[in-house]
């Protein structure tokens, strides 16, 4: 065994690892591991004090077991003990165990901090290195508190060893990421910038990472880094391949450092100083030139390293977007890579070119590669490369090439991987609409989409084609003719039936003159698809039929016969049944005039942002669909509006949901407009009666759950042995919709199941009547919410039912709080504080100081503020430790701007100030929940 284990091989460890290797099955391995764990546990618990070597050996074994995927819940103490050993090997294992296994909120941090403190003070560079590595890898808040003052000093001290400086730089970066408030900028910042000039390239590498992160947050403070980075880069780029000795990798001078420097420069606009700018341009040109020179080595490592730098240089050129000459050269270089035999290069070139396509200087140059990209779509074997090709085609599309690109995408769609079909469908639909000069082309394209990839055509896409056809009368006849032809196919996608049904119902008359598409033929064609379709499509077709009654009186009797048939009138589905009954009746009793009015052609849809675009944005995440016109909705905010009296008017309406009627409980749940059973007038509640008018006190624990919903919209609101109540809600401006799911956890039916929403006197609410809830079943209730004016009390959901003979009555608060109607607002620091000062009236301001219940984590707090609904304004407050938010509360009657500041102080107490009454009083209450 010692043959494979280097240095002071630990025999016991080697034996254990060999045993694991020899295990024939997973079971055997687990057995062996459990045996070892038991052994180590007893050794650690034993009376005999273990020497450093044994501790090290056992800790090493635990590390190995952890690597195999088993949780380790002991041994931490022994590892901490190793930290104070004077032997490097033991100390190192101790630190390794801690940085791999200890997470930042461990209770051991204090002990670990002690050991780190000793090692930092030891002046022994190897020990200091280990301690700094540990901080850099664990980086907890407590560590930041203990060392944030010390580390900048180590970093910039003249006598610090290079390797220690490197670790210190990354250490500081970690602490800045986790607790920026504890790493105040100071004298050290300018000296850190000068580390870019350090003789030692390792130090420069580490410092560049640190400076890049700091510069992103404090661009002004680190502005001087630009010229230093440029001169450093220039020295590297122009150096001979042997100048940098060990930092040269396969004849490429310091490739990783070059990449980092180019990244750092991407935090800034092009340098203003012409000398610096000239030097940078020279660097970038040199890098581009080198790509054309014959390689200094045939090794792939050489060209890879060179290309890593080249791609980063191109990113910088694209980022600056100011030198047409460089942009075009970059584009040509990428064009070469598009045909390179290395797949990696083709992938990266496509990706990079995608961003290049949005620059006005290089858009045309990118377009010249269209044939290559189309070819990539057809021939690439790797789906991720094809995906990039689709993205690039989308990005380079404009009016001149839209027809070609859309046609190629449609071609590709026939064989495309399932994983990317939906996205391609959305892209085609958007391009076809955006660049349609001729709407017949648009209609053809969308119908083709449905034909080729019907399953991937979402509702948004086919809704959109109908909107467009209805809004443009020049295309209606063509659309009717085309769908009619498309429907001739013996098997056509259901989405086509939907579009066809809708369009023929509206515009079938435009083609009825042709005997080949006479009214009866149109009707028979649609009806031949009817029985193969799902319920919603059949419902749509029934509407088409009644529209036909109006358009084509000559086939009225045929249609009436169909509606009258048993399969319609007695259909098991209530929706279909109801439509058949009502349409039949309508066609029988209404006069032609009334029919013509009721069944008039649909009015044009209001123009608005394409819902397809919204969907693609959602799919790809914001910011990725940048080349299309972004609709920025400026929300007018009334920051100086008068304070409203705090009347509570939330109107709640509940709509019966389809899943409720699927249970088939009685007639379709009638929307009951009777006032809710109010307990306010009836103080005498008969305790012996199980009359449903008695509202139960709030269920225990429901307040905790309530608090959790302040910042989120979905989750489990309540759960006991019988019942689980889940929520899904969405809010927009002053409106909201809440889906309440009631799950019966037992196997027995609940009888008289009556959920009721109770608001205060001013509220109206409607009740979902649902008399039984089967064992194991779930029903859903939809509540529509409108915030009429600001309010304090959340509505209460009361649920009553019988379970096994006993009456159950419980109440939970529905998490509808004022902040749900918050719309985030971005504003600059100046605006913010100007408004903040204006709101000085005591009625407009609420301040609250409270103790944080948990350690404050900046990221969690940020997430909470965003979840709370306000915009999180970064870099607004001069004190970086503070959190600042702004938003507008939308009610039906008014809009109220709200500003909030969370000022944590060192003792982890929090101060929250909210401005703008009256809702702020409640907001502060809620935001306490947020801040803990």
């Amino acid at each position: 065994m010692p043959a494979v284990s280097k240095g002071d091989g630990m025999r016991g460890l080697a034996v254990f690892i060999s045993d694991i290797r020899n295990c024939k099955s997973k079971e055997a391995e687990i057995k062996r591991i459990n045996k070892e764990l038991a052994n180590i546990r007893s050794k650690f618990k034993g009376d005999k004090a273990l020497d450093g070597y044994s501790k090290k050996k056992y800790v090493c074994k635990l590390l190995f077991i952890f690597l195999l995927g088993h949780d380790i819940d002991f041994g931490h103490m022994e590892a901490v003990n190793l930290l104070s050993s004077n032997r490097y090997t033991e100390k190192q294992i101790g630190y390794l165990f801690i940085s791999v296994l200890v997470n930042s909120n461990s209770e051991l941090i204090r002990l670990i901090n002690n050991a780190i403190k000793n090692d930092l003070a030891s002046r022994n560079p190897t020990f200091m290195g280990l301690a700094l590595h540990c901080i850099a890898n664990v980086g907890s808040r407590e560590m930041a508190e203990a060392f944030a003052g010390e580390i900048p000093k180590i970093l910039v001290a003249g006598d610090t060893m290079d390797s220690v400086k490197q670790s210190a730089a990354l250490c500081l970066l970690r602490l800045y990421r986790t607790s920026p408030d504890l790493v105040p900028m100071g004298d050290w910042t300018s000296r850190v910038v000068h580390l870019l000039n350090d003789q030692h390239l390792g130090v420069v590498t580490a410092a560049t990472s640190l400076i890049t992160t700091l510069a992103q947050k404090n661009p002004e403070e680190f502005k001087t880094s630009v010229s230093l980075a440029v001169s450093r880069l220039s020295r590297i780029v122009t150096s001979a391949s042997t100048d940098l000795q060990d930092y040269t990798y396969y004849f490429v001078p310091a490739p990783w450092l070059s990449v980092k420097l180019l990244r750092l420069l991407q935090c800034y606009p092009p340098p203003e100083d012409p000398a610096v700018r000239g030097r940078l341009t020279e660097c970038l040109e040199t890098i581009l030139n080198k790509a054309q020179e014959p390689p200094k080595s045939k090794k792939v490592q050489h060209s890879n390293a060179k290309n890593a730098v080249l791609f980063e240089a191109i990113s910088l050129i694209i980022h600056h977007d100011s030198e047409p000459n460089l942009l075009v050269r970059a584009c040509n270089q990428l064009g070469q890579f598009l045909q390179h035999r290395e797949t990696n290069l083709r992938y990266l070139a496509l990706e990079s070119m995608c961003t290049l396509a949005s620059s006005e200087f290089s858009h045309e140059a990118v377009k010249t590669h269209i044939e290559t990209v189309i070819n990539a779509l057809k021939t690439e074997r790797d789906v991720s490369v094809r995906q990039r090709a689709v993205d690039l085609l989308y990005a380079m599309c404009d009016r001149s090439n839209a027809q070609q690109i859309v046609a190629e995408m449609l071609n590709y769609l026939e064989t495309a991987d399932y994983s990317i079909r939906e996205e391609i469908v959305l892209k085609v639909a958007i391009l076809a609409e955006k660049y349609a000069v001729d709407y017949t082309w648009y209609v053809d394209t969308i119908l083709n989409l449905i034909r080729i990839a019907g399953d991937y055509v979402s509702e948004e896409v086919w809704y959109r084609v109908i909107q467009i056809v209805i809004n443009r009368d020049d295309v209606q006849g063509y659309a009717a003719k085309t769908v009619f032809e498309a429907l001739q196919a013996p098997a056509c996608h259901e989405n086509l039936v939907k579009v066809g049904g809708y369009i023929l119902g509206e515009f079938g008359n435009l083609i009825a003159g042709d005997p080949r598409s006479s009214p009866l033929i149109q009707f028979n064609l649609l009806h031949s698809k009817f029985h193969l379709c799902s319920v919603p499509t059949r419902a749509l077709l029934l509407s088409t039929y009644i529209k036909f009654v109006n358009l084509f009186p000559e086939i009225k009797t045929t249609i009436q016969d169909v509606l009258r048939s048993d399969s319609q009138l007695k259909n098991a589905d209530v929706e279909l049944q109801q439509r058949a009954v009502e349409y039949l009746r309508l066609s029988t009793i209404a006069s032609t005039d009334i029919l013509a009015t009721v069944l008039e052609e649909m009015p044009p849809f209001p123009e608005r942002e394409s819902s397809i675009l919204a969907k693609l944005k959602k799919k790809k995440g914001p910011g990725t669909v940048t080349d299309l016109e972004e609709i920025k909705k400026e929300r007018s905010s009334d920051m100086n509006g008068s304070a409203e009296p705090a009347t509570v008017v939330v109107s709640l309406k509940s709509t019966p949901s389809p899943s409720a009627d699927l249970l088939g409980l009685g007639a379709a749940p009638a929307t009951n407009s009777a006032p809710p059973p109010s307990s306010s007038g009836n103080l005498l509640v008969d305790v012996f009666s199980d009359s449903p008018s008695a509202v139960a006190p709030l269920a225990p624990g429901s307040d905790d759950n309530f608090a959790r919903f302040v910042c989120k919209n979905n989750g489990v609101l309540f759960e006991n042995q019988l019942l689980q109540i889940g929520l899904k809600s969405e809010f927009r401006q002053n409106l909201g919709r809440m889906f309440i799911f009631y799950g019966n956890k037992t196997s027995t039916q609940f009888l008289n199941f009556t959920p009721t929403v109770i608001c205060s006197d001013d509220l109206q609410s409607n009740i979902l009547k649902c008399t039984m809830l089967d064992g194991g079943a779930q029903v859903q209730q939809v509540v529509n919410i409108e915030c009429v004016s600001d309010f304090m009390e959340a509505p209460i959901l009361n649920i009553q039912f019988r379970y096994g003979g006993t009456f159950q009555n419980l109440s939970v608060k529905l998490p509808i709080t004022l902040n749900k109607f918050f719309q985030p607002t971005e504003m600059s620091s100046q605006d913010f504080f100007q408004r903040w000062k204006q709101l000085s009236n005591p009625k407009q301001e609420v301040q609250n100081i409270f103790k944080a219940k948990h350690p404050m984590d900046a990221e969690i707090t940020k997430a909470k503020i965003i979840g709370f609904g306000s915009a999180l304004l970064e870099e607004v407050d001069p004190n970086p430790a503070n959190f600042v938010g702004a938003g507008i509360i939308h009610t039906k009657t008014t809009q109220i701007g709200c500003l909030l500041r969370l000022e944590p102080n060192l003792q982890a107490q929090s101060t929250e100030e909210g401005k703008r009454l009256s809702p702020s009083e409640q907001l502060v209450l809620e935001s306490q929940v947020v801040a803990v």
Binding site: M1, V4, K6, G7, D8, I17, C60, L63, F64, F66, L67, L68, G69, H70, D71, R87, Y88, Q92, I93, L96, V100, N103, S104, T126, G129, H133, N137, G139, S163, Q166, S167, L170, C171, L173, R174, G202, T205, A206, S209, D246, Y247, Y249, A254, P255, W256, V259, R263, Q301, N304, A305, N307, A308, F311, T343, N344, Y347, L348, D382, S384, V385
Partner: protein, 144 residues
């Protein structure tokens, strides 16, 4: 930023794992299994970068061992791809022709090497001699 650094063999056994952001142990095993499945399902002429959840995987294969690095969008794929090779060359130099067994039996040393190269998710040192310097000190102490 580098999110994690993994060495997994073709059988899906993890030989080295280093996470630069805290990940629960059960999520680690799941992630490692999925990552290796992704890599194994790819052929030689597919590219070495895989989009995976909200980050990218960069991988290289050495005999039966895959080295997979998870990165976010602030990293340069090609630079990370070569970082992997640089790491392997350092291992090769230290162990003189490194094998999977060397990595298993000397996990602590492999960790030291990696820690010298990547710290807190950032590349910190690329010079082979300097990466190995602390290890040589360590070995001298052990012999002496």
């Amino acid at each position: 930023m580098i999110k994690f650094f993994l060495m997994v063999n073709k059988q899906g056994q993890t030989r080295l794992s280093r996470y630069y952001e805290h990940v629960e142990i059960n999520k680690r095993t799941m992630l490692e299994a999925e990552v290796i499945k992704n890599c194994l399902s790819r052929s030689k002429d597919e590219c070495s970068f895989i989009e995976y959840k909200d980050f990218k995987l960069v991988y290289r294969q050495y005999a039966a061992l895959f080295i997979v690095v998870g990165i976010d969008q602030t990293e340069n794929e090609m630079a990370v791809y070569e970082l992997i090779h640089n790491f392997v060359e350092v291992l090769d130099k230290y162990f003189s022709r490194v094998s999977e067994l060397d990595i298993m039996f000397n996990l602590d040393r492999v960790h030291i090497i990696l820690d010298e190269m990547v710290l807190n998710g950032c590349i910190v040192e690329t010079n082979r001699n300097r990466i190995l310097a602390p290890l040589f000190v360590l070995d001298k102490v052990a012999e002496g």
